[in-house]
Structures are given as structure tokens and as C-alpha cells.
């Protein structure tokens, strides 16, 4: 009887305690980017778009611990605008001039989602798990003449396991923010991306 109570009550409490389903995913830079030689003479314009063909409205789902969806998760901020602002922040931090007349960077969001993976080896199945997140973007650079000079797909995750009880929207938010930070860092730190900007 006691075990049955635990089996039912704990997941229910976990669901009720962490049930925020709509939240903002902010961009927080890890560290100021080092300046790039030659960037000061270059203008860069950034445009971000949402290219997710499927499940565009949802960024994950709350999980009751046994794989059943409790509620979908939604971002309250404009993810494309957030990503564009993040790139502008990082590129100006590297010394580029923000504006037209130089390279044009387009960032297309193709994955932005999280999910909860229950861990089976727990005393009460479904009460603990790992939240993972995926952020993927297709980045293109066009030069001043409009010619496509660079295109690359980047995929990032939070970088480490984020343990949580089921149905924690707060952890999903944390995982997605970390994956977003890592995705931006991947692009900004790519020497070939930088070469394309400098040649743009």
C-alpha cells in the first residue's frame, strides 16, 4: 500500500511542483569574445529566421516520468530575434561593425527542443532523469555581391548531464539556454566562418 502511494504520489508531486510550461529562453554569453584581427574594418549584418518545418510551436514537453506527455513547453520570447541579437552581440564584441555594406549572415534555426530521459535505475521509476536539449542552426554567409560563400550546419547540446525530476520546465529552460550558448560559441569560434566574414 505504501509502495503504491509512493509510486503514484511522488510523480504527481513532481509534476505539480515544476509545471511551468511557458518561459523565456535568454541568451547569456559565456565570456567576452576575443577580438578578431581585421574585424574593425568589416561590416556584418545578421538575420535570423525560424526554419523548423515541424513542431515549430513547441520546444519540448513535460514528461510525467514514464514517457507520457503532461504538457507541451513553449518559449515566450521570439527565438529567432534572440539568436540574431546573440550573434550581433558576439560579432560586435569581436570588433565587427554591425550593419549593412559587408557580409550578410543568415542564421536559420532548424532544431530548438528539449526532452526528458528517465533513468531506470532509481528506487521509484520515473522520478529522476536527464534533461537534454538540442539547438541546431544552418548558418550562411553572403558577400557584398550577394554570392553565397559559406554554409554550415551546427548542432549543440548543453554539454553535460542536467539531472532533474520529471516535468521540470525550469531544467528544460536551463538546458536550452546552455545549448543555445554553445551553438553560438560553435559558430563564432569557427575559423572558416570568420574567414568568410573577413572576405565578405
Amino acid at each position: 500500500m505504501r509502495r503504491a502511494f509512493i509510486l503514484i504520489a511522488l510523480p504527481a508531486l513532481a509534476v505539480l511542483a515544476g509545471c511551468a510550461t511557458d518561459f523565456a529562453i535568454p541568451y547569456t554569453a559565456a565570456a567576452p569574445p576575443p577580438p578578431v584581427a581585421g574585424a574593425a574594418a568589416r561590416s556584418v549584418a545578421v538575420v535570423a529566421s525560424d526554419g523548423r518545418p515541424l513542431d515549430r510551436d513547441r520546444i519540448g514537453e513535460l514528461d510525467g516520468g514514464h514517457g507520457e506527455e503532461v504538457a507541451p513547453l513553449h518559449a515566450t520570447n521570439d527565438i529567432a530575434a534572440t539568436i540574431a541579437a546573440a550573434f550581433e552581440q558576439e560579432l560586435t564584441g569581436q570588433g565587427y561593425l554591425d550593419g549593412p555594406g559587408g557580409a550578410r549572415v543568415s542564421v536559420e534555426i532548424v532544431r530548438f527542443d528539449s526532452r526528458f530521459l528517465p533513468l531506470p535505475e532509481t528506487p521509484v521509476p520515473g522520478t529522476l532523469g536527464v534533461t537534454e536539449a538540442h539547438v541546431a542552426v544552418l548558418v550562411k554567409v553572403r558577400n557584398q555581391t550577394g554570392a553565397l560563400v559559406f554554409a554550415r550546419y551546427y548542432a549543440a547540446t548543453p554539454g553535460g548531464p542536467l539531472f532533474s525530476r520529471p516535468a521540470s520546465g525550469a531544467v528544460a529552460q536551463q538546458a536550452l539556454a546552455a545549448a543555445l550558448r554553445n551553438a553560438v560559441a560553435l559558430v563564432i569560434g569557427d575559423p572558416q566562418f570568420q574567414t568568410a566574414l573577413l572576405q565578405g
Binding site: H66, G67, V110, L119, P120, P125, L138, L148, Y153
Partner: protein, 242 residues
Amino acid sequence: MRAIFLALVAAVLAGCVQPADLRADGTAAVAGGVAVMGTNAVFGAVQAARGIVTRIDVPYDPGPAPAAVAGAAAEAVSVTGQDRRGPEGAAVGIILNQVLAGQGPGAKNGFPIVVTNDLPATVASGLGQTLTAQGYRLAPTGAQVVVQLVRATVAFRLDHALSYADGRIAVVVKVLDGAGHLDFAHYYETAGMSLNDSVLWSADGRSARESLIAALRSTVQAVAVDPQFQAAVRSAQPRAAT
């Protein structure tokens, strides 16, 4: 309670709650599970079956022939595939028993599903076949199409009493001209679905395979009919100097 337990044991023994591919691919391990059923029949089967890898092939199934593209006959195109997936690589998903293992879609412990064929090459081959059917000529002298496979996954969904596999294929397609200049790049993602054989299992090899085959076909079609892709292939052709 006792009747339910006996019914479950009978179901497992009869093989009716095993995924089809599990029977084909992991007979020995499942047989091991059956052997310990005297004390803990169902959980024994699940534990014994851990480590089984369900291997599936995902061929390109073209479906209906595409319409011919006007002017394509004079154009040459070559298609190559590249693998840009993450560390999971050929492992596309997990099969597990939702009821007995107390887990659900997305769990990591279960029976991995691994694609045995070269999926990036299969996507490239499928696109090459489709372009040929549209009238293009496969030759290394014209547009170079690079298909980068960035995602191949099967997730498992429960919709009321229905359990189904949700296969996803995503590619980045690039078109380069004969000089290697990049003319076009676009991301395509499509889904394919297939009902599972049993609601007890999060999926089975058959439904995983069928969902991926459907997603693969949709992806190739999405690329082949994209007017911007078609325009890029034509503009990347070498032209005689005037």
C-alpha cells in the same frame, strides 16, 4: 492479479509482445529471458533482453515517379552524400517496453536501433534516382549536389491507445558549380510515421524501419521538387562562353 500475471507470461511466451525484429535478431537473448521466468518472468525477459541491438536497413523507396522537369535533359548533375550526424551516428533510437520497464519514449536504456546501411549514401542515391527520373543526366561535369545527413532519428509517441514510431530525416543540401563555388544551401526535414505492433513496446524494428523509409522518401521528394534547388542545379551548369 494472478490472472493478469499469467496472461502476461503467456503473452511473452507466445511472442506476441515481442517486437518482430527482436524475434529475428535476438532470439537467443529472449530465450535466456524466458528461462528465468519461473521467478520473475516478465522482468527477467526484459533484463535478459537488454543489450540486444535491433538492426534495420533503411533503403530508398522511391514511391510514385516524379514529373519530368522541362529542360533537365541537357543538364548534368552529380550527387554525393556526407554524414554530419552527431556522436549517436547510426543509432537512431531505442526500443523498450513501456509497461514493464516503467520507462517511456526517449529513454536511453532499452534495445538500441541501429541502421545497418550507409544512410548518407542512401539519401544521395535516392536523390540521384529522382533527379534522373526528372530528366537530369548523372555526370560529374555539371552541378555538384552534396547531401549532408544531419539527423536520422526515431522517437516513439503515444496518442491515446495508439503507439507509433516517428521517424525523422534531416539533410542540408548544397549545390556547387563546376568550379566548386557554393550556389545554394538549404535545410530539409521531414517525418514519417508507422504504427507499432504492440502498445506494450515503445516501438518495434518494423515500425522504426517503415517510419524512417517514409521520412527518407519525403526528404528526397522535398529536395527534388524545391524550385530554388532546381534553379540552383540549372544555374550551376557550365555554360559555353559567348
